[in-house]
């Protein structure tokens, strides 16, 4: 694992968010021993995931990253938000993303990327209407 970001290390910033049995969790406060027997998926494990391909393209087009440090956690979180249909408008996107900090403060681009990804995922039936 190379791209799974080690950042605040006490559950505040969201950069290390991964999927544990399909649900986003903060890896810095999840013991490896506790995860034994569970499916762990980091940002590197989505190359065959159609939704993630669309989300990455949206982040690219809408300038959803600057330094890129928060991006692994942002992508994993955003995919979950969109799959659960929790991105109706900008206030909801900002509320759902509040556990992921971007210290470059690139939130305008990130929120725009989420909206773009949401619309495209809906078109292909990968996110609820």
């Amino acid at each position: 694992m190379h791209r799974h970001a080690l950042a605040c290390e006490h559950g505040v910033c969201g950069a290390c968010t991964i999927l544990l049995d399909g649900r986003p969790v903060r890896s810095c406060i999840t013991l490896a021993g506790q995860a034994s027997g569970s499916a762990v998926r980091t940002v590197e494990g989505f190359d065959d995931d159609a939704a993630m391909t669309i989300i990455r393209q949206a982040f690219h087009e809408a300038h959803g990253l600057q330094c890129g440090y928060c991006t692994p956690g942002m992508l994993v979180t955003v995919r979950d938000i969109l799959k659960r249909g929790k991105a109706a408008d900008q206030p909801e996107i900002r509320r759902e993303l509040s556990g992921n900090i971007c210290r470059c403060t690139g939130y305008m681009g990130i929120v725009e990327a989420v909206e773009l990804a949401r619309d495209r995922l809906k078109q292909v039936g990968l996110a609820p209407d």
């Binding site: 986003p24 969790v25 903060r26 506790q34 900002r94 509040s98």
Partner: protein, 274 residues
């Protein structure tokens, strides 16, 4: 940043977990979701030499809505309450409160029992369970006992639980159809611990009303006079009752805190009376 060295054991049952902690001569802690303990370990605020993992004990995630009260296993995840997987017997209050706890990634791991046992006075579940009049069934080496939610917390991060006791289940009384509630939390940032939390439940069919205040500096408080006015339909002087309750705090509030707490209790009361 990493924790001081510790041993880790996964327990397969509540009894086994209690036995492991009781039989340990050093400092042992139970760990469930670890969403409060994890940061404290990483910051070395606490340094147990044994962690007994209870997050894989199936019996702790059992839910039973068949009786007079909803019985929630101590290992119930906040996200499962948020998503309505657990029946909401409090007219939407449980789901509303769960959705406002920290962030989704934390709600996917954090547990009801863990939140109660950790006893952060500004956390959502202690205040909510006190307002709902819930009871907590715990088990330790000495057997089982039941603690009223209002009696659980002695002070910030301090409970009446002994080191070998686990929150097995929480019994939440079912509200009447006409029962109402109000819940207000002041956070400067979404998902952080509240600077002030006010929960109000009014269930006139049962002659029940309770207002509870949570904040960082004192154990959560049942607001006795406020509850008295609310049970009578709010016809009395709610403002004066709130003033009287806040003035009786063992840990006096400064002017700013008073203003914030007063406002939030009023808002929660108003929502529940509407």
């Amino acid at each position: 940043m990493k924790p001081a060295p510790f041993d880790y054991v996964r327990a397969e049952s509540v009894e086994a977990a209690i036995g492991l902690v009781d039989g340990h001569s050093g400092f042992a802690k139970f760990i469930a979701g670890g969403q409060s303990l994890g940061p404290m370990l990483n910051l070395r605020i606490t340094q147990p030499d044994l962690l007994v993992d209870i997050s894989h004990v199936d019996a702790l995630t059992a839910v039973d809505a068949g009786g007079e009260a909803l019985v929630l296993g101590g290992g119930t995840l906040h996200a499962d309450v948020e998503d309505g997987i657990v029946p909401d017997v409090a007219n939407g209050m449980l789901q509303y409160v769960a959705a406002g706890i920290s962030y989704r990634a934390v709600r996917n791991r954090g547990t009801l029992g863990g939140s109660l046992a950790h006893a952060d006075p500004a956390a959502d579940w202690p205040v909510t369970m006190m307002a709902l009049g819930a009871e907590i069934d715990v088990r330790g080496i000495g057997g089982k006992r039941t603690i009223a939610a209002v009696d659980l917390i002695d002070g910030p991060l301090m409970t009446c639980l002994t080191d070998d006791e686990i929150v097995e289940q929480v019994r939440v009384p079912k509200l009447s159809k006409a029962a109402t509630w109000g819940y207000h939390k002041l956070c400067r940032k979404v998902g952080e611990f509240g600077h002030s939390l006010a929960a109000v439940v009014i269930d006139r069919d049962r002659g029940y009303a309770r207002a509870v205040l949570g904040c960082a500096t004192t154990p959560p408080m049942v607001l006795v006079h406020t509850s008295g006015v609310l049970v009578d339909g709010g016809g009395g002087d709610l403002g004066a009752a709130i003033e009287q309750d806040l003035g009786a705090s063992e840990f006096p509030f400064d002017d700013y805190e008073l203003q914030v707490h007063r406002t939030l209790v009023q808002r929660a009361g108003r929502d529940a009376l509407a």
